[in-house]
C-alpha cells in the first residue's frame, strides 16, 4: 500500500464506520446467605474499589406526610444509638470512603463507596447506621432549618419553580406520586414520624443489597457474612405489579410569576402509557431522542443552534414503577419565551405531520447504540442496568437484543408514536418567569 501523503488524504470523506455491537454484557451474580440475604454482585472494571448499595422500598410514594420519605432517608446517616452523627461521619471519612443517600418515588438507598482495602473497616459502621439510626431531635431541627433555607434559595430559580409547579399539576392529589410540599410542611415532621417510617419501610420491609466494582469471591463472602449477621430483614416479596395510575388531567397551561427574571423556565410534559419492556418502548425512546434527547435533536437544532434562544433544551422519557412521563425542559431568554414555545410546538407538530428521513433515523439509532454501549461500560453502570432490569421484571435478553430492537424501529412507527403521543392538547405546560 502506498504511503498516504497530505495530497491524497481526502478530508471530506469520513472514515469507514463499524456497526456498533455489544459483546458480552457482564451479568450480575447472586449469592445467597443463611439469613435469607441475596447479594447481587458484579465484578468488573480496573480499579480496586467497590460500591455497595442497600436499597429499600421507601420512596416518596410510601409517605403519609409531605417530605417524610426524603427526611427519613437523609437523616438515616445522622447518628446511631451509640454514635453521634459526627462520629459516623468521622469513621467513614477517615478511610476515604463515601456514604450517600439516594431517594426517588419508589425506592430509597444508602450507598457506600469504598476502596476494597477498607471495606472491613467501614461496613460495620454502615450496618450500625442501617440497624440503629437515632433520628435525634437535634439533628432533625438542624436539618429542618437548613432545608428551609435551601428551599428558599431554590425558589429563586425559574428552573425550580417550573419543575415544582409541573409536578404539582401532573399528579392528582391522591396519586402515590403526588409529592407536592411547601416550606411550611418542613415544620410538621417530627422525630416520631421518622422512626415510624424507618421501622415500617426500612427495618421491617427488607433490604436488597447490590455490590459492584472489584467484587472478587473473597470480598463477596466477607461482605455477605457481615450483612448476614447484622440482623436485617431481607426482601422476600416479588416486585409489585404496575397499577397504571394514568388518570390525571393534563393539557393545561400554567404560569408562575417571578419578577425581573432574565430567563423563563419552561417544562412541558405528559404521561405515556408505555413501560420498559413493553410494546412501543424502544420506539418511544427513539422518538424522544430525535425530538430532544441529544445534541443534534430537533429541539436543540432549532431553538439553540438556529435561533439562539437558549443555552440548552432537551427532552426525556422518565420511567418509574407506576408511571412513564415524556417531558421537555429549557430556560430561554425572557423576551423570546413566546417564540420558544411556538418553536417547541412547531417541532412536535412536524414529527406528527412528517415521516422522519431514513438518514436522520439511522443517525439517531447509531447515536443511541453508542450511548447504550457507554451505559454498560464499567461496574457501576452495569449494576444500574441490572437494577433497571429487575425493577421492570426483565431478563438480560432485553439488553442483549437492545441494539437489534433499536434497529427494528421504523420511520412509520416513529410517525404513529408521534401521532399518538405528541399532540399538543395532552401536554401540561408550565412557564416560570416574568410577566411579559
Amino acid at each position: 500500500m502506498p504511503k498516504i501523503s497530505e495530497f491524497d488524504l481526502d478530508r471530506s470523506i469520513a472514515p469507514a464506520e463499524a456497526n456498533i455491537s455489544v459483546n458480552d454484557i457482564i451479568r450480575s451474580q447472586t449469592t445467597e446467605f443463611s439469613s435469607g440475604l441475596v447479594l447481587h454482585h458484579i465484578d468488573a472494571g480496573s480499579q480496586e474499589v467497590v460500591r455497595i448499595e442497600f436499597e429499600f422500598r421507601a420512596g416518596s410514594r410510601y409517605q403519609n406526610k409531605p417530605l417524610l420519605a426524603e427526611f427519613a432517608n437523609r437523616l438515616l446517616v445522622k447518628g446511631t444509638i451509640t454514635k453521634s452523627a459526627q462520629k459516623v461521619a468521622e469513621l467513614i471519612d477517615c478511610y476515604g470512603a463515601f456514604l450517600e443517600t439516594e431517594i426517588d418515588k419508589d425506592r430509597a438507598s444508602l450507598v457506600l463507596f469504598s476502596l476494597n482495602k477498607y471495606v472491613d473497616k467501614v461496613l460495620p459502621v454502615v450496618l450500625d447506621v442501617l440497624m440503629n439510626p437515632a433520628f435525634s431531635e437535634s439533628e432533625l431541627d438542624l436539618y429542618k432549618a437548613n432545608q428551609v433555607q435551601k428551599m428558599l434559595v431554590e425558589q429563586d430559580k425559574v428552573s425550580y419553580l417550573s419543575r415544582k409547579k409541573f409536578n404539582k399539576e401532573l399528579y392528582l392529589t391522591d396519586h402515590p406520586y403526588y409529592g407536592h410540599f411547601t416550606v411550611e410542611d418542613v415544620q410538621h415532621i417530627n422525630a416520631e414520624d421518622l422512626k415510624a417510617f424507618y421501622t415500617e419501610h426500612y427495618r421491617d420491609k427488607g433490604v436488597e443489597v447490590y455490590m459492584a466494582g472489584c467484587a472478587k469471591p473473597e470480598l463477596v463472602r466477607m461482605v455477605g457474612e457481615m450483612v448476614n449477621s447484622a440482623g436485617m430483614s431481607f426482601m422476600d416479596r416479588p416486585q409489585e405489579i404496575r397499577t397504571n395510575w394514568i388518570d390525571a388531567e393534563v393539557g393545561a397551561q400554567h404560569f408562575v410569576e417571578k419578577q425581573n427574571a432574565l430567563q423563563s423556565g419552561i417544562r412541558i410534559g405528559r404521561f405515556v402509557d408505555v413501560y420498559r419492556g413493553g410494546e412501543g418502548f424502544v420506539g418511544l425512546q427513539v422518538l424522544n431522542t430525535l425530538f430532544g434527547g441529544y445534541f443534534g435533536s430537533r429541539l436543540m437544532s432549532n431553538i439553540r443552534e438556529d435561533k439562539g434562544y437558549t443555552y440548552g433544551i432537551g427532552s426525556a422519557l422518565y420511567t418509574c414503577d407506576d408511571a412513564s412521563i415524556l417531558f421537555m425542559v429549557t430556560e430561554v431568554g425572557a423576551e423570546v419565551t413566546k417564540a420558544s414555545l411556538k418553536e417547541i410546538y412547531f417541532e412536535m407538530n412536524r414529527l406528527v405531520q412528517e415521516k422522519v428521513s431514513e438518514k436522520e433515523l439511522s443517525l439517531v439509532k447509531n447515536y443511541m447504540g453508542g450511548a447504550f454501549l457507554k451505559s454498560v461500560d464499567g461496574p457501576f453502570e452495569l449494576m444500574e442496568r441490572y437494577k433497571m432490569l429487575k425493577r421492570s421484571n426483565l431478563g438480560y435478553d432485553y439488553y442483549e437484543s437492545y441494539i437489534e430492537s433499536l434497529n427494528q424501529v421504523t420511520a412509520e412507527q416513529i410517525l404513529s408514536l408521534a401521532q399518538k403521543y405528541l399532540d399538543k392538547e395532552n401536554f401540561l405546560e408550565v412557564v416560570a418567569g416574568k410577566n411579559m
Binding site: 501523503s5 488524504l9 478530508r11 469520513a14 472514515p15 464506520e17 463499524a18 456498533i20 455489544v22 459483546n23 468488573a44 480496573s46 480499579q47 474499589v49 459526627q86 461521619a89 467513614i92 471519612d93 477517615c94 478511610y95 476515604g96 470512603a97 463515601f98 469504598s114 476502596l115 438542624l142 432549618a145 433555607q149 435551601k150 428558599l152 434559595v153 425558589q155 429563586d156 430559580k157 425581573n260 427574571a261 432574565l262 430567563q263 441529544y294 445534541f295 443534534g296 439553540r304 438556529d306 439562539g308 437558549t310 443555552y311 440548552g312 430556560e331 431568554g333 443517525l363 439517531v364 447509531n366 447515536y367 447504540g369 453508542g370 454501549l373 457507554k374 461500560d377 464499567g378 457501576f380
Partner: protein, 412 residues
C-alpha cells in the same frame, strides 16, 4: 498508576496513549493551551465563545456533531481561565472518526456569519442562565476583580460583561484561531482498548500534515503580592446572606498546592470537617459551608463560602470563620486528621480513574504542566504533606493581607 506512552509529531503535537482493556469505549481528549487568561481585556469571554464556534463546522466537514453521532460517539468541551478542552467518547471500533473530525477543525475553520451570530446569542443565554439569573450566580464576577488587579484572572471565563460577546467580530474570531489553535499548542490523549501503534498511525495520518500556525508566546502580567485586606459588600435580592472569603495560594504545579488542598479538606470536606462541625452543627451560624482550591495554573485561590443561618450577622459569621482558620495557624493538626484527608485524596483519585475519559483528561492536563507522568506522583505529593507543613502554610495563607472577602447581603 496510569500507564501510558507518548510521542510528538514533527508539527509539535504531543500525543499520549493509555491502554485500558476493561472498556469498549475510547476516549479522545484534545486540550488546547489557551484559556480566558489569554484574552485581551477589551474582548473577554472570547476563548469560551470560540469553543462554541468550534462545533460550527470546519474546512472540509460542514457539521461536526452529526458524523460523530452517526458512529455512536458523543462530544463536548469546556473552557477555563487556563485551558480549552475538547473531548469525545466513541465505540472503540469507530475511533478514527474522532481523528478525522478533530484534525479538520485544527486544520482550518469554516465558520459562517450565521454560526457566529447564533453562538453569540447562545453564550449570552448561558451568561444569563449561569451567572445572572441564579441567586449568587454573579459572585465570581465580583470576586475575581477584587483579588486580581493585574493578572487576567481578574475576569471570569464567561467574560467581564455581555457586551464583549455581543460585539465579537468574524475578524477577531479568525485571528484568535490562528494565534492559538496550532498543533504545538495542543496535547492529544487517546485512551481505551487500543494499541499504541494504531494511535501513532492515525495521528500521523490525520494530524501529521497540519502546519504550525503563527506562534504565541504567553507573557502575562504578574499579579503583585496583595498588601491589604480587601472587603466588598453588596446587597442583592437573595433569600439568605452569604459570605465568600478567598486567599491567594500557589499555582497547580507548586508543591504547596497539595498542602493547601489538604487544608481545604480539613476545613470543609465531609461532615466531619472543621467548618461544618463547628459552624453548621455546633454553633448553627451557617446553613451550609464549603472550602476548595480552584487549581489554576498561575497563582490560584483557596475559597471559603457559606450561607448564613437566619438571624446571624455578617461580622459574627466572618469572625467565626476566622477563628476556625486561626486554630489551624496556632495549633498543629493531629496525625489522625491529616491521615483522614490524605485517605480521601487517595480514594478520590482511585475512583476518578474508573473512567477512561477522566484518565485521558488528566494525562493531557499534566502533560501540559510539563509531563503526563506527574499524574502518577499525585499520591506521593499528598503523602509528603506533614503536620508542620500544614501549619506553616496556614500561617502564610490566612494572613489578613492575603484575604479578600465579599459580604453578599440579602436585601430586607
Amino acid at each position: 498508576m496510569i500507564k501510558f506512552e507518548k510521542f510528538t509529531l514533527s508539527n509539535g503535537l504531543r500525543v499520549i496513549v493509555h491502554k485500558d482493556e476493561s472498556t469498549s469505549i475510547a476516549a479522545f481528549n484534545l486540550l488546547y493551551d489557551v484559556g480566558a487568561r489569554d484574552e485581551s481585556e477589551s474582548r473577554t469571554g472570547f476563548a469560551h465563545l470560540f469553543e462554541h464556534l468550534m462545533f460550527g463546522g470546519s474546512v472540509n466537514i460542514p457539521n461536526f456533531d452529526q458524523p460523530l453521532q452517526r458512529v455512536g460517539g458523543q462530544s463536548n468541551a469546556f473552557t477555563s481561565n487556563d485551558i480549552t478542552n475538547y473531548y469525545i467518547t466513541v465505540p472503540t471500533a469507530n475511533l478514527e472518526t474522532a481523528f478525522w473530525l478533530e484534525s479538520d477543525r485544527m486544520l482550518d475553520l469554516a465558520f459562517t456569519d450565521k454560526s457566529l451570530e447564533t453562538q453569540r446569542s447562545v453564550v449570552v443565554e448561558e451568561f444569563k442562565q449561569r451567572y445572572l439569573n441564579q441567586p449568587y450566580g454573579n459572585v465570581w464576577l465580583l470576586l475575581r476583580p477584587l483579588v486580581y488587579k493585574k493578572h487576567p484572572y481578574k475576569w471570569a471565563t464567561i467574560g467581564k460583561e455581555i457586551s464583549h460577546i455581543e460585539q465579537a467580530t468574524m475578524e477577531e474570531v479568525k485571528s484568535f484561531f490562528y494565534k492559538h489553535y496550532s498543533p504545538e499548542n495542543a496535547v492529544l490523549t487517546v485512551s481505551g482498548n487500543i494499541e499504541f501503534d494504531e494511535v501513532r498511525r492515525l495521528s500521523e495520518k490525520w494530524f501529521g500534515p497540519i502546519q504550525r500556525k503563527s506562534g504565541y508566546n504567553r507573557s502575562l502580567p504578574h499579579e503583585p503580592k496583595q498588601q491589604e485586606e480587601r472587603l466588598l459588600e453588596v446587597y442583592r435580592n437573595v433569600p439568605a446572606s452569604a459570605i465568600y472569603k478567598v486567599f491567594r495560594m500557589p499555582g497547580r504545579m507548586h508543591k504547596e498546592y497539595y498542602i493547601v488542598d489538604l487544608i481545604s479538606d480539613i476545613l470543609a470536606r465531609g461532615e466531619s470537617s472543621r467548618l461544618h462541625q463547628e459552624l453548621v452543627k455546633e454553633k448553627k451560624l451557617f446553613s451550609e459551608i464549603s472550602a476548595y482550591v480552584n487549581g489554576s495554573t498561575d497563582d490560584g485561590l483557596l475559597v471559603i463560602s457559606g450561607k448564613l443561618s437566619q438571624g446571624v450577622g455578617m461580622d459574627e459569621a466572618n469572625e467565626s470563620i476566622v477563628n476556625v482558620l486561626d486554630e489551624l495557624v496556632l495549633n498543629p493538626v493531629t496525625e489522625i486528621e491529616l491521615t483522614k484527608v490524605k485517605n480521601k485524596a487517595e480514594s478520590t483519585r482511585v475512583f476518578s480513574e474508573m473512567s477512561v475519559l477522566n484518565k485521558a483528561m488528566n494525562l493531557s492536563i499534566f502533560e501540559l504542566y510539563g509531563d503526563a507522568n506527574l499524574v502518577n506522583l499525585e499520591d506521593q505529593n499528598y503523602a509528603e504533606v506533614s503536620v508542620q507543613s500544614i501549619q506553616n502554610s496556614a500561617k502564610s495563607l490566612f494572613r489578613k493581607e492575603n484575604t479578600s472577602t465579599v459580604y453578599y447581603h440579602a436585601k430586607n
